[in-house]
C-alpha cells in the first residue's frame, strides 16, 4: 500500500527543477492547471503534453518510477474515458457495442478529457516529487502573505499544513506496524468476506487514533517547552529567494502559454 502510491512523496535528485523556488513551481503549476482548459485541439493538447513530459524528464527521476506510482490513478483515467465513450452524443455514429451506439465525438472527447486528467495529475505530482513538504508550506505562507491584512491566520494555516504533511509518513509507518502486530494475532486484512474485513479495521484504527492523539499532545508540549508563540516576529533559517533560474522558468513557461494560444483554434 505504502509502496505503490507516490503522490505526496519527495524524491531527492540534483535536478534544476528541484532547485527552483517552490513559489515558482506553485505559480507555474497553478497557471498550467488553469490553462489546460484552454486547449481545444490535438496540437494544443500535444503542446501541453510535451511541456509536461519535458518537465518530468527535467526532474531526473526515472519515468518508469513516476508511471508506476500513478497506477492507482490509471484506473480513474480509464474509467473517465469509458464513461465519456458511452455518454457523449456528438458527431456521426461509428459502431455499436452491446447495442449502445458509439459516436465519433465521444472518442475524441474521451481522449481529450482523459489526457487532461492525466496531465493534471502528472504535473501536480511533479510538484510534490521535487519539493519537500517544508518548502511547499513556506511557499504557501509566502504567497498567502497579503491575506494577513484581512486578519487571515496565514502562519497558523501554514504550520497546520506542515505538521499534517510531516505526520503522513509517520502515520503510514504506524499503520503498517500495527497491522503487522494484529496480523500476528490472527487478524486477516486481506481475505474473507467484506463484512469480516471491515470488522478487522477496528483493531487497527483504535490504536492508531490513540497514538495520534498522544503524539499531538506530545508535540504541543514540546512546542510550548521551546517557547513557540506563532508567526509574530519569527525569523526563518532559509529565506526563499527568486533567482535567475526562476526567471528562466517563468520565461519558458510564458513561451509555452504563447505557443498554446497560437496553436488553439
Amino acid at each position: 500500500m505504502a509502496n505503490s502510491l507516490i503522490i505526496g512523496q519527495y524524491v531527492p535528485t540534483d535536478s534544476l527543477v528541484h532547485r527552483l523556488d517552490p513559489r515558482t513551481k506553485i505559480i507555474i503549476i497553478f497557471l498550467f492547471v488553469i490553462f489546460i482548459f484552454f486547449a481545444n485541439n490535438a496540437l494544443s493538447y500535444g503542446w501541453l503534453a510535451l511541456f509536461a513530459v519535458a518537465s518530468a524528464l527535467a526532474t531526473k527521476i526515472k519515468l518508469k518510477f513516476i508511471a508506476r506510482g500513478l497506477t492507482p490513478v490509471w484506473f480513474l483515467i480509464i474509467f473517465t474515458f469509458i464513461l465519456h465513450l458511452f455518454v457523449t452524443r456528438e458527431g456521426p455514429v461509428l459502431f455499436e457495442i452491446i447495442g449502445l451506439p458509439i459516436y465519433s465525438g465521444a472518442i475524441i472527447q474521451g481522449f481529450a478529457i482523459s489526457l487532461r486528467f492525466f496531465l493534471l495529475i502528472l504535473v501536480t505530482s511533479l510538484m510534490t516529487l521535487t519539493t519537500t513538504p517544508i518548502e511547499i508550506t513556506d511557499a504557501i505562507e509566502s504567497l498567502l502573505h497579503p491575506l494577513k491584512k484581512i486578519k487571515f491566520p496565514v502562519h497558523e494555516l501554514a504550520l497546520m499544513m506542515s505538521i499534517s504533511l510531516r505526520f503522513i509518513p509517520t502515520l503510514m509507518q504506524e499503520t503498517e506496524k500495527i497491522s503487522k502486530a494484529q496480523a500476528s494475532r490472527g487478524v486477516d486484512f486481506k481475505t474473507g468476506p467484506i463484512k469480516d474485513r471491515i470488522h478487522a479495521v477496528v483493531p487497527l484504527l483504535v490504536p492508531l487514533f490513540v497514538s495520534a492523539f498522544k503524539r499531538a499532545e506530545e508535540l504541543a508540549m514540546a512546542m510550548e517547552a521551546r517557547g513557540y508563540q506563532g508567526g509574530e516576529g519569527r525569523t526563518k533559517l532559509r529565506e526563499l529567494t527568486i533567482a535567475k533560474l526562476d526567471w528562466i522558468a517563468f520565461l519558458s513557461f510564458s513561451c509555452v502559454l504563447i505557443g498554446l494560444f497560437l496553436l488553439r483554434q
Binding site: K180, A183, R185, V187, P207
Partner: protein, 291 residues
C-alpha cells in the same frame, strides 16, 4: 519447531529510488527448543528477519522452513494463519497494539481469532496473567488505564495466550525500568524451559544475549556476521568492535583480569557469584604457592 533460512534475501521497495536491501543471503538453522539471540546494530536487518518468521513478509530470494511450513519468494503459503498461530511475535513496544475495551478481551483477542473456544480462553487467561505477573482484578479494566509497564505485560499476555510453539521477541524490554526488564526476561526464560519453546530474542543488550541465549547470531548490514554459542562469540573482542558491539561486562572483566594478573580464568557461563568464588580460589592457590 526447527527453523532454517537458506540464502534468504529481502529487498524493500524494489525497482524504485528507495530500493533498499535489508537482508543479504542469510543462512542459518535453529534446532527446536533453542533460545537464540539475534544481535546487531540499528539497521542491521534484525526486525526484517523476524518478520519472515510468521510470514508477515516473504523473502525476495531464498527459502525459509519453519517446522512443516515453507516460505518462498512469489509463492503464497496457504496455511499462513496456522503458521501465525504457532509462531507468536512480541513486537517492539507491543503496548501499541492494545485496542479492546477490557484487558480480558484484549488478551483473548489472539486466541479467539485462531478459533480457540471461549471456555478454553477462560482457562488460559489466569495462566498468562500469572506468567506476566498481573493481578486478575485488572481484567475488567480498560487497557488504556494502565501504566506503560503494565500495558506491556498485557500485550505480552495477549501473545502468550495464543500458546505458540515458537516465541519471537523484538526487544521486549526496551523502555522498561531495570527491575521490570529482568522480571520479563526471567519470565520468558522460565516459559521457554517449561513449555519447551523455541525462542528468538532480538536485542541490543549483550548482557541479555549472554545470560539467556544458547546460541547467538550477529547481523551486520543485512548479512550474517558471526554465529555460535555466547561463549564462542562474545570472547572475540576485535570482531565485535568492528561492528560496534561491546563484549558483555563479565567477559570484559575476565579478559582484563587475565591481562593484569597473568592468570587464566576461562569464561564458561558462570554467574558473577561463581566467578567471585573462582577468583577467591585462584588467589588462595597463588598465596599458597608463594608461601
Amino acid at each position: 519447531m526447527d527453523i532454517s533460512f537458506k540464502q534468504v534475501s529481502y529487498i524493500y521497495q524494489p525497482n524504485s529510488p528507495f530500493e533498499h536491501q535489508a537482508l543479504k543471503e542469510i543462512d542459518f538453522s535453529i534446532k527446536s527448543g533453542t533460545f537464540v539471540a539475534i544481535v546487531g546494530h540499528t539497521g542491521s536487518g534484525k526486525s526484517t528477519l523476524i518478520q519472515h518468521l510468521n510470514g508477515l513478509i516473504r523473502p525476495t530470494k531464498g527459502e525459509i522452513n519453519i517446522g512443516d511450513f515453507t516460505l518462498k519468494a512469489n509463492e503464497k503459503t496457504a496455511n499462513i494463519k496456522d503458521l501465525r498461530r504457532q509462531v507468536g511475535v512480541v513486537f517492539q513496544y507491543p503496548e501499541h497494539q492494545l485496542f479492546e475495551e477490557t484487558i480480558e478481551k484484549d488478551i483473548g483477542f489472539g486466541p479467539k481469532n485462531f478459533g480457540v473456544s471461549d471456555e478454553e480462553i477462560k482457562q488460559r487467561i489466569p495462566q498468562v496473567l500469572e506468567a506476566v505477573n498481573l493481578s486478575p482484578e485488572l481484567l475488567s479494566r480498560s487497557p488504556f488505564d494502565l501504566s506503560g509497564g503494565q500495558m506491556r505485560r498485557v500485550a505480552i499476555a495477549g501473545v502468550l495466550a495464543m500458546e505458540p510453539r515458537v516465541l519471537v521477541l523484538d526487544e521486549p524490554t526496551a523502555g522498561l525500568d531495570p527491575k521490570g526488564q529482568q522480571e520479563i526476561m526471567d519470565m520468558f526464560k522460565e516459559l521457554h524451559t517449561r513449555k519447551q519453546l523455541t525462542t528468538i530474542l532480538v536485542t541490543h543488550s549483550m548482557e541479555d544475549a549472554l545470560k539467556y541465549a544458547d546460541y547467538v547470531i550477529i547481523l551486520d548490514h543485512g548479512q550474517k556476521y558471526m554465529e555460535g554459542t555466547p561463549a564462542e562469540v562474545f570472547v572475540q573482542k576485535e570482531a565485535l568492535q568492528r561492528v560496534q558491539l561491546d563484549m558483555p561486562e563479565i567477559i570484559q572483566f575476565i579478559q582484563s583480569f587475565e591481562q593484569r594478573f597473568g592468570l587464566t580464568l576461562r569464561y564458561k557461563g558462570q554467574s558473577i557469584e561463581g566467578l567471585a568464588q573462582e577468583i577467591n580460589q585462584l588467589l588462595k592457590e597463588e598465596v599458597r604457592a608463594d608461601g
